[in-house]
Structures are given as C-alpha cells and as structure tokens.
Symmetry: C2
Subunit: 457 residues, 2 copies
C-alpha cells in the first residue's frame, strides 16, 4: 500500500491516488499518512473528498493534525472545523498549543465557538468533556412519521440518530426512544407513548469513567448527559466510551507498575518524557528500601555468624512480593470492575487469609523438601540438625510472609480507596517494599528464637 | 429497594412487586435477585412480565440461572430459551453442567437447536463463539422502503437492526448499509446503490480479541462474521465486544501478576480455586530464586569479610525489579494496544536504553549523595575512603542494574510475542527474577574489582 501511494505521488497521478485512498477506512488512511514526511501530507490530504478528509483528520495523531492545521489556509481550516463533530473538535483543541487554538477558534462560526468554549470549561475527566452536543431531540407530541422527518432533516449532522431524546419546552429530559422502536411501531404512534420514561442519565460533572461503566452495565449505545437542572445538554456515544475505557485501563496498568500515566502512545512519548514519568517512583521506592538496609545492618552480627542465612533473603523477599502482588492486583481489578464493594471488606479478608494459608503451607512444604533433598551444600557445612533447623526457619518464614503479604496486599488497596485515592497505587511495587521490610523482621525474629534456642545463632 | 421488595414479598403483594421491579433496569433486577435466598427467586421471576423476565435472566450470574432452570417447568424453559438471542443462549449453555444442557436443548425447537450446536462447535476464543446469528439480511435489489418493511417484519427478533447486511443468493457478503443511510436517503433508492461495498469483516475462526480490536479501531456497532466461503453467518455486536475487551484486559492484568486467569468474578471464585490459580506461579518463582541463593552462597566469603555489602542487596534487587517492571508493563500494554509492532524492535531498544541511562544516572547520583550524607553508619566503621568506594560500588551497580532491567524488561515481551506466546507472562514477576540474578552478578563483579583493587575486599 505504502509503495503504491509513493509511486502515485511521485508520478503525480492524483486522481488515481484519491480513488485508492478514498476506498480505505479513514483510520487506515490516517495511519498511512503517519508514515510519510510531514510536508507531503497537506498535498495528500487536499486531494481527498471533503467529507472523507474530515473523517481522516479526526483519526490522526495530534502532531499530524497540528502540522496540517498550520499548512491550512483560513478557509480550509474553517471548512474542516465546521464539519467536525463537537466532541472531536474539543478533543483536537485540547491537544493543540495556544497559538493553534486561537487560529481554530478564529475560524469557527460564532455559535460553534460558544459551544466549544462551554465544552472546554468542564472540569477534567468529567462526562462534560467527552460528550457531544449533537443528538436528535424530539417532542413528545410528535408522531413517529413526524419524528422520521425531523431525523431526515437534521440527522446528517448528528453523531448518532439511533437513540433519540424527548425533552419538554425547558429542555428537561423526559424520555428516550430508539429508532428500532419507531421503525417497529405504527406511523401514527405518538413519541410520548412510545418513549421509555425516567431514563437513566448522567450529570455533566460525573466522572467519565463512571459514565462508561454505566453504559457497559446497561448496554447503552449512548448515554444522555444533563446539567444540574436536569436539562439535556449532550450525549456520550459508545465509541467514545470504549476509548475512555481503554485509556482508564492503561492508566490503571501504568499506576500499578509505578509509572505516572501519560495519555500518549508509547512511540510518541519522548525519552525525556518517559524518564519523567518513571524516575520519581524509582527514587521513592529506592529511598524506601533504606528500611531493609537498616534491618540487615542491624542483624549484621547474626549474618556474620551464620552467613548461609543471607542466601535466603532474596528468596523470602521475592516470594513475599509475588504473593502480595497477586492479591493486590486481584483486589484492584475487582474494585475497578465493581465486583467487590467496601462492605465486602470482611469477606475479602477471610478469603485472602484462607488462600494465603493454603499457599503459605504449600510453599513451606515444597521448599522444606527442596532444601533438605537438593540444597545439600548447607548440610555438609552445618551438619544435619543445624541444616534441618535452618530449613525450618526459612520455611516457617515463607509461610508467615505469604500470609502477611496476601493480607496486606488485599487490604491496602481497599483502605487506600476508602480514603479517596486510586487503589492502583497499592500494586506490586509498594506492596513489595512493605512486604520486604516485614518479611525480614519475621525472618530474623524466627531465626533468633529457633536457632538461638539450639545455640546455632 | 431490598427492604421494599422484602416487604411486598412477605405481604404477598405480587402485583405491586411486579410494578416495582419492571420499572427497574434488567441488570439491576438481576443484581437484586442475587441478594435473595435461591428458593424465593423462581417466585419473584415468575411474576415479572415475560419479555422483561427474559432480559433479567440474561443478566444473571450463571449459578442463579442454573437454580432457575432447575425450578422451571419444561414449558417455561422452552419459552424463555426460544426468546433469548442466540449468542446469549450459547453463553448460558457454556456455563451449565451437562444435565442442564441436555434439558435446555431438549426444550428448544429443532431449528434453534441446530444453530446452538453449530455455535457451540466453534473453537474457544474465536469470533464464532461470541457472534449472534440474528441480524438483518437485505438484498441489493430492494428499495429503501422495501427494506424498512423487511425490518418491520423481522426486526424484533434481531439483536441489532441499525447495521444491515446485503448478501447475494449464496449468502456471500456484498455490502453493508446502515439505518441512518436509509433514513436519510430517498424511499426509492436501491439498497445496492446505497450500500458500502467490500465492507470490513472477520472470519468465524478469527481470535475474538482481534475482532474486538478491529471494532474499536473502526468504531463499528457490529462486525459481520463470514465463513471460509465468505458467506455471512453472524455478527458480533458492540456490547459483546465491550465484554470481551474487559475480559481480555482482566486476563492480561492477571497474567502480569502471575495469576492463572479465571473468568469468574472475585467473590464468586472459591478459596480452593483461587489457591489453584495462584500457587503454581509462586512455586515456580520460588524455585527459580534458587539461583540468587546460589550466587549469594558463592560470594559468602566476601559478604563475611564486608558484611555491610549485604545491606544493599534488597535495595539493588528492588530497584532492578521496579525498573524492569516499568518497562515490561509499558511494552506489554503497547503491544496489546498495537501502539508498537514487531518491526519497532530497534526503536524500542534505543528508547528504553536512553530512558534507562537517564534513570540509572539519576538514581546513581541521588543514592551516592544519600549514602555519603545520611548513611554515615558505614563511614564511622569503615573510614571515609572505604565508605566512598563502597557507596560507589553500590551506585554503579544501581545504574547498570537499571539499564539491564529496562533493556531486558522491554525486549523479553517482544521476544516472547515473536515465538507466539502471550507477552504478559514477561511482566514484573519474571522480569524481577531474571533481574535479581543479573543484578547480584553485577554487584559482586563490581565489588570484587573496585574494592579488591584497593584491598578492601
């Protein structure tokens, strides 16, 4: 495909190029453009059919959009901006530098500019920022055939026509009616009789993630968004909901891996930017590892007396970290999917404790067997009784560490959520750091008691 | 709500109860039923309006569905099953024990039974298993008004009517036409002139995740699914696509946390089942920690000579693990979102190397400062020159470890994907284990050279 476009471009066969490109899906063309030098894109863009060009424009990455806007004449810019859906316009504007934004707003007609400014003013991450103001509004006294006429007259500019909204003279949302209902009903049926009353809706300042979750729960193609006076001001469509869902999941995953979330794709994020999103967490976690250093320094004499004890430190810390992250990640995900609620605290605690008990015992037994049968290095140096006692200390520590790790790993995300923070911060890296400290304390405690009693330490 | 339902149930006010329940959304009623004893559910279910009852049934968890099916008479069962959409029927059947499945199939009419069996036979995780066979099929020679008549006649039983599919006499997919196009067009327009030819489609044996990704990419409400002869056999609707998306994300997150994925919600999974999904990975990771033990045992004499070196082992391993998991998780996510492809290998390597260099240097400098200024325990015991050299060894190791961790963390998921496995297995736990070993080797290597040269070790 690329080579074909290259050839047509070089041979200046623009008509053939247009036919080739306009046959593709807009998002594929946008991806294709991304592979060409930026100065060739305005030319390629201009040969596209106008409506198709708008669709391609929406699908482009913001750096490409910016390059194009800068190449546009005022007239071209005005044409394309007035053709865009409102929510797409706002998305694009949010990514542009101030000078480009001024030029866009300057080339937008008065009415649209007002709406854009309104949409830009909703607080970050609210339903208002992702909704579109283009939807089909019907009156209750219309018949189905009137309604179809309204749709026919105005539908082309609406992002979805399949769900229509019935409002009163104050624009307050009264009901919802789908094109499916209308198509299956009699032509003379009144919209007021057909509509579903008291529909589910969201407010402009609801969290956009909650809107998405509600849409998924109720299988909605669009969610009506009302202001504080219950007046219908916009809708969120399912395609935007899917994008929000994906962004939020990526954000969760990044937070869980101790990365400050960015909303740019991996290859579009610069080295310096990536460094900035990663290094603060590494620093915090590194400095918090001071505790483990202090503990090890504190027990330096024990380690010097019985150096073999050092050999099991990574094993204990690793197992504790893994056990804890299994629990914390399960709980973070279950909270995010709303599979568990705050009130399930006790149920979660009991379940994780029992699972931890089983896991702890399994690991304890397997490791005890392994240490006695295979790790005979220690036996030859320390003798059978000592060897058994050392193995026992390690394995009891494993069991206790796993229990601590799983209980802490499951409880901390819930507690963090309770105080209003994102539970995802309590994923592997933080759990690991906490569990590291606790497991070392348990380890040296058990060694001191068990090995001390038999005069080994 | 629950107390109200309880009261109406106890007072046997069934009509009021029906009015109350039928006013809610089906999925809310299903969640409400889950909070009542299983033997009261058939009664509550029977008082619902029939169509509404079917919708509630679809939204229930499979254990509730099973309880209800067992309480149903053959007639009730047959009514409800014949009312369900085909893909929902198959989803339900897949969760039921064999005896229940036999009863369901026995109470399904011949034609549906044949289709159900067909759907059940598609290999796991393919498009065939999530598609529905109920969609609107049109002929190219119809006019728009004919098409609307067809929709009116058959639309009620179709899962979506908004995208209609045009096929030839052999049922081969020719084009796609939306209700929006039809509503905005003239009544006499031929479907063949209106439809978009050569539409995007998937095959029945395509991976369901790929179908979902394509739908998200192209903003489709439904994706046509064809067999090997290009005959249209079903469609995947956007609500099912969103469910698949969510399941796959959960699966990815679980694999990244070293958990064998299960498709049940957290609280519905038993203790034993959760143990089974977690313990194998803990065992594998624990046993692979043997390598770190061996390395520490090997350098036992160095550690005995300079016990302070032990204190930094958790710091190094922790930092390496965190740095590695940042990279591996970023890459796994980018691969899953298709932000990066196999051919971006070199770009990723270069970027991660540069980010690692920056992160490594930052951590190295901060930690060097911290060790010299605050961790003066070591200085008082070892003297200034030794203290500086020890700090230097630790900090150089940190920098090298971060570089190794980030390069390994970014490359391993890509390599694992190349050989056809799920890149998510190369997340934190495995990267950590690998980086643990490497960081210890680097640490002792540097200590031996640097401290050995000055006669400290």
């Amino acid at each position: 495909m690329i080579t074909e476009v290259r050839r047509l471009l070089d041979e200046k066969k623009y008509r053939a190029l247009r036919d080739l490109l306009c046959d593709e899906e807009p998002c594929d063309v946008a991806m294709l453009f991304d592979k060409f030098p930026k100065d060739e894109i305005p030319l390629m863009f201009r040969i596209l059919h106008k409506d198709f060009a708008t669709e391609v424009f929406v699908e482009m990455d913001s750096d490409l959009q910016q390059a194009l806007i800068q190449a546009f004449t005022d007239r071209e810019l005005s044409e394309i901006i007035n053709d865009l859906f409102m929510d797409d316009t706002v998305d694009i504007i949010e990514e542009m530098p101030a000078s480009v934004v001024r030029r866009i707003l300057h080339n937008t007609d008065m009415e649209r500019r007002k709406k854009i400014n309104q949409l830009l003013n909703y607080p970050e991450d609210t339903a208002g920022t992702i909704m579109t103001t283009e939807f089909v509004r019907l009156k209750a006294h219309l018949t189905v055939s009137d309604a179809f006429k309204t749709i026919k007259r105005t539908g082309l500019e609406k992002e979805t026509i399949y769900t229509c909204y019935v409002t009163d003279e104050k624009r307050v949302l009264l009901g919802v009616v789908t094109v499916k209902q209308m198509l299956l009903a009699d032509e003379d049926t009144l919209i007021g009789d057909l509509m579903v009353e008291d529909p589910i809706f969201c407010y402009t300042d609801d969290d956009k993630e909650d809107v998405t979750k509600a849409m998924r729960k109720y299988n909605f193609l669009a969610m009506p968004i009302v202001d504080k006076e219950n007046r219908l001001v916009g809708i969120v469509t399912v395609d935007d909901a899917m994008d929000v869902l994906q962004e939020e999941e990526t954000e969760d995953i990044e937070i869980m891996a101790a990365i400050t979330p960015t909303d740019k794709p991996y290859l579009k994020t610069g080295v310096f930017e990536t460094w900035k999103s990663r290094v603060p967490w590494l620093l915090i976690l590194m400095i918090s590892a001071t505790f483990t250093s202090k503990i090890l320094t504190h027990f330096e004499s024990s380690l010097a007396a019985l150096p073999i004890l050092t050999a099991f430190v990574p094993l204990l810390m690793g197992t504790g970290g893994n056990a804890g992250s299994q629990s914390s990640v399960s709980i973070i995900r279950a909270l995010s999917l709303e599979d568990i609620q705050m009130r399930d605290f006790a149920k979660v605690l009991l379940k994780e404790f029992l699972v931890a008990l089983l896991c702890g015992l399994s690991l304890c037994i397997v490791n005890f067997g392994k240490m006695l049968l295979f790790d005979d290095v220690s036996r030859s140096v320390y003798g059978t009784q000592q060897s058994v006692l050392i193995s026992l200390s390690v394995c009891i520590t494993i069991a206790i560490t796993v229990i601590i790790a799983k209980v802490a790993g499951s409880m901390l995300p819930i507690l963090v959520k309770r105080i209003g923070l994102d539970p995802a911060v309590m994923a592997s890296p933080f759990i690991t750091t906490i569990v590291d400290v606790l497991s070392l304390l348990v380890y040296f405690g058990i060694c001191t008691v068990l090995l001390g009693r038999f005069g080994i330490l």
